[in-house]
Symmetry: C2
């Protein structure tokens, strides 16, 4: 059924938003009342008086299947953390990923995210979960073979099979290619992954320059080349690459990422909690021509999937380490969490305009947080929490109404059962 959102603040004006199928068909000021003649049937009219529409978030780096692994290992550095995670992951199966991804989607819905760029095991099960939840997952096949030849051959075959299956995904989900990182994947498999992605027009989702150690080890092993320089020499970097972290960058690295128009995903909560670093070079990357986005990373490190929280933390760290309160102003910050992610993925979302996908947060501003002379964006990002997001529309369908998500109880119950099996 089509939807008409009446009297909702949209781009600063009280508007009516008419949604046809999955698309925003028209946005007009409510005063003009141009929808007097909308069809009497087949349209759900929702009065949104006093509420504000915002583009749903695009979370550009997730491991949704880790939603049941938070707190497994706290207050330890990345190396110890990842070893422990890999140990736990050796025990999980497709059912676990399915239920964990359902929980992750539940949490993303409650915090206003519709599109997420995922990298995890059992991608078919992750897709199934996300599509059932009504979201738009970008699901990658992840190459990660620790330089094991046999495993490499197995992953190539499985990747091809997964890709072929993805051609039949009529009900949603976007397939992409991924390799984990330069320290966990052989050069041969990185090249194979990039070639496979380009042959089939897929995005390539990787981790890059996350820790100082990664950079140091790379320089030691590759004649002084940084991870960015190394991948660039291999011909891997380009506008189809989505590089998570890009935290430890030289000026030359920044120049390369800009020139290659790489999509750089900043994950501040994960980086700081693991003490990987915090001096993300946002201004420099933006000015060099890179497309900067925000992600949350997986729940095991960050420890949630909340893009509103990620935006505030991002702003605070940028202002703090640059010693400049004007760093990363609000209008840029919101782009990082919405349209920049959409641009990275080549999707018509992240904006409230006619012709775009109807991915809309309906924000309840009837609370202390919005009771101020500050701008909506200031109140939304700096003061409020994600529970101000009252309802969420994903591709023209309500996936949350008045904070209620269908099936929430059974999702939590089933996840508890799965956890009991592996812990």
């Amino acid at each position: 059924m089509n939807i008409l959102l009446k009297n909702i603040v949209c781009n600063g004006t009280v508007s009516d938003i008419y949604i046809e199928g999955s698309v925003i068909a028209r946005i007009v000021t409510s005063a003009d009342d141009p929808f007097g003649q909308i069809p009497a049937s087949g349209v759900e009219v929702v009065d949104c008086q006093g509420k504000t529409a915002m583009p749903a978030f695009v979370n550009m780096h997730t491991h949704a299947g880790m939603s049941l692994m938070r707190g497994i290992e706290e207050d330890v550095p990345l190396k110890e953390w990842i070893d422990r995670i890999w140990e736990v992951e050796s025990h999980i199966d497709g059912d676990f990923v399915y239920h964990a991804t359902k929980v992750a989607c539940l949490e993303m819905i409650k915090s206003g995210t519709v599109t997420f760029n995922d990298q995890y095991w059992f991608p078919l099960m992750a897709r199934k979960a996300a599509v059932e939840m009504g979201l738009r997952p970008v699901i990658s096949y992840v190459v990660l073979e620790h330089n094991n030849k046999e495993e490499a051959e197995f992953q190539k075959d499985e990747c091809v099979r997964t890709y072929e299956e993805s051609l039949g995904w009529k009900d949603g989900g976007i397939f992409s290619m991924a390799f984990h990182a330069i320290y966990s994947v052989s050069e041969e498999m990185m090249l194979w992954s990039a070639e496979f992605a380009r042959k089939h027009g897929l995005k390539l989702h990787i981790h890059l320059s996350e820790t100082e150690k990664e950079v140091r080890d790379c320089m030691a092993g590759h004649n002084g080349l940084s991870p960015v320089e190394y991948l660039d020499r291999l011909g891997i970097l380009g506008p189809d690459v989505i590089a998570a972290h890009t935290l430890w960058l030289s000026d030359e690295d920044v120049r390369i990422l800009g020139e290659r128009k790489v999509n750089c995903v900043h994950n501040i909560n994960s980086n700081t909690k693991l003490a990987s670093g915090y001096r993300f070079r946002y201004n420099e990357l933006r000015d060099a021509g890179a497309n900067v986005c925000i992600g949350t990373d997986g729940c095991a490190s960050s420890n949630n999937l909340d893009m509103l929280e990620a935006m505030k933390t991002t702003a605070l760290f940028q202002k703090a380490w640059r010693e400049n309160p004007k760093a990363l102003p609000l209008y840029e910050l919101i782009s990082l969490a919405t349209r920049n992610g959409a641009d990275a993925l080549g999707l018509d979302t992240g904006r409230l305009e006619a012709g775009m996908q109807a991915d809309i947060c309906i924000v309840n501003t009837d609370s202390s947080f919005f009771l101020s002379p500050g701008s909506f964006l200031s109140n939304f990002i700096y003061s409020a929490h994600s529970d101000c997001i009252d309802s969420l529309i994903s591709m023209g369908r309500f996936v949350m109404r008045n904070r209620k998500v269908e099936g929430e109880e059974s999702i939590l119950r089933d996840a508890r059962k799965e956890l009991g099996k592996i812990m």
Copy 2:
């Protein structure tokens, strides 16, 4: 009416908590069922199956009356910001502070705070608002005369009058003394404030070493003494001093603050948003003997009063700038937001033990955030948001039940009217 919380997780065990008047009378494991013989009448029995009790937060630095000023000035440094704030404040009156403090209390209740250490204009109106909301405000008379002699005499008289009135505060609220900062108050008035505080056994709430500029200016004007050294020479520092910020500290400053057992209040959201700094010397202050607490600062800078958010941001910045993921572990972090604040104020709160004030957050753990093998503290602080706090008991009385606070709508409506008058 007395309260019996049945089957609530308390300090790691499923317990029954019996509250008599404003005090926690007994905590026993539910399995022992020692309350079989509780009086049949006069006790409200609340089944808290699946919920967890936590001490309500102690917010050690607020300007509650600024809750209606958020976003007035965004993305500017402290000096510009404070000039603009002082300009707006020249137009406010007692009614404004009353309504703004009501909003602040509403927000604090919704995020689990019972006790707050406030510093703002029209203290009698702030107290009235907070006591009506059922909270425990520490309300200071604030000296701030910009070296104006006439104003100083006026403030002395008004301070004495306010103190005398405070002796009659039977229904709640704790009176304290405050001066704003070394750069806004004359030496004579700082000394007068400290003497007045000590004569009457009051806490002394000040801002101290918030910005690098404050330290530089002080050293230039006082023969190279830092603000901490300067106040120490004046004999002002002691265990009755609550010093907000203490962000720019030399080793010698740390030593002095430790030796004098000063209560140092860290306000990370405010400090980073204004780009005042972020390298708060938590470990050093703790080791030197200072009592470190957490505050949110006023809403105009931070931009909310959420102690759960403040804890997470505090941990992320400590781990980040110290480049150590083990910095500020969870069990210390929670103390900063609860018992350390109680100790600073000399209050029997911040702990769930028999004999303590019944200031209790009832946390709903039936959500994705708590569905993990991590510890409760990890899930509470790193994953969840304050809306997991289902109900709040302040001094033995429910001030929130199932996220509902009595009078919420009229508080917001009245505040909107007040805002309309001054903006």
